[in-house]
């Protein structure tokens, strides 16, 4: 059973990631490419840009996908792997907690994923374009992971547990990361136009919402087919 369940979860995520890849190709990657023009024009201490636009930069030679179809291929493949990862984690949480994840309630699972992984962290670290200033990378990654975990546990406490103490702790967990505050850059001054950045942030959140809805429903379908009896045992 274990192998079948995991394979099904991974395939569900890969399929969702492919859909995400298509959305990216039309609604997100063009904005990234546009921002990279400003990024290279400004040239402010950015250590690893992608794409052919930086061919002349005096940086150590690093492997980068070629622009065009190769870059699209790697971006789509990365989204498929990310989708597989998110779906597997969702399925893992469902199996370990014993809260059923099915095709019927997959949308709710997906929304919980979207709120935890994208919406809540976006309040401190909005989705950013290349070339925009940002705080220390490791500090941001730690805050990002902490916010996801705290928000996820918070949602579980007040959606599933429901007792007054659980609701109180859940709300505290969801608010805490924002009281602590995300690592911010010294200045938001940037060569990337503000309108472009705003559009990217909005498109990114909308795409992530669609991505997660599909992950949730596909993961539910996968479990319905491979582990239908598991919730009753």
């Amino acid at each position: 059973m274990i192998g079948r369940v995991i394979l099904a979860a991974l395939l569900a995520g890969v399929a969702a990631g492919f859909i995400m890849g298509v959305i990216q190709h039309f609604k997100l990657t063009p904005l990234i490419l546009e921002a990279e023009v400003f990024e290279t024009a400004g040239g402010a201490g950015h250590s690893h840009e992608t794409g052919p636009a930086i061919a002349g930069a005096d940086e150590p030679e690093e492997w980068n996908p070629e622009g065009g179809w190769e870059r699209t291929f790697y971006t789509t493949a990365a989204s498929m792997l990310a989708g597989a990862g998110f779906a597997a984690v969702l399925v893992g949480i469902a199996l370990l907690s014993g809260i059923p994840l099915t095709a019927r309630n997959g949308l709710l699972w997906g929304l919980a994923g979207f709120i935890s992984v994208n919406l809540a962290p976006a309040m401190g670290l909005s989705p950013e374009l290349p070339g925009m200033p940002a705080g220390d990378l490791l500090a941001r990654q730690i805050w990002w992971i902490g916010t996801i975990v705290a928000t996820g546990i918070g949602i579980y406490l007040f959606a599933i547990r429901r007792q007054p103490w659980a609701i109180a702790v859940g709300i505290a967990l969801i608010i805490a990361p924002h009281l602590i505050g995300a690592p911010q850059p010294p200045t938001h001054e940037s060569g990337v136009p503000a309108g472009l950045a705003a559009q990217f942030a909005a498109n990114s959140l909308a795409a992530a919402a669609a991505f997660w809805c599909v992950i949730g429903v596909f993961s539910g379908l996968a479990l319905d087919r491979t582990a239908k009896g598991v919730w009753a045992t």
Partner: protein
């Protein structure tokens, strides 16, 4: 397993727990590789996806 999983909607079986742990570990490994790894090649290949999904990048 005779443990009373108090408060949980259904009782945890060994098989479900095994599959759950395996799925969680594989999933976290994939997410780390795509979104958080500091290895340059992993970063560059997944660059546009990291930005698109809102992973902290650069």
């Amino acid at each position: 397993m005779t443990t009373q999983a108090t408060g949980l909607p259904v009782q945890l079986t060994d098989q479900r727990r095994g599959a759950g742990i395996a799925a969680l570990v594989i999933g976290l490994f994939l997410i780390f590789g795509v979104g958080l790894s500091h290895i340059a090649a992993a970063h560059n290949a997944a660059h546009d996806t990291r930005h698109a999904i809102g992973f902290p990048c650069h």
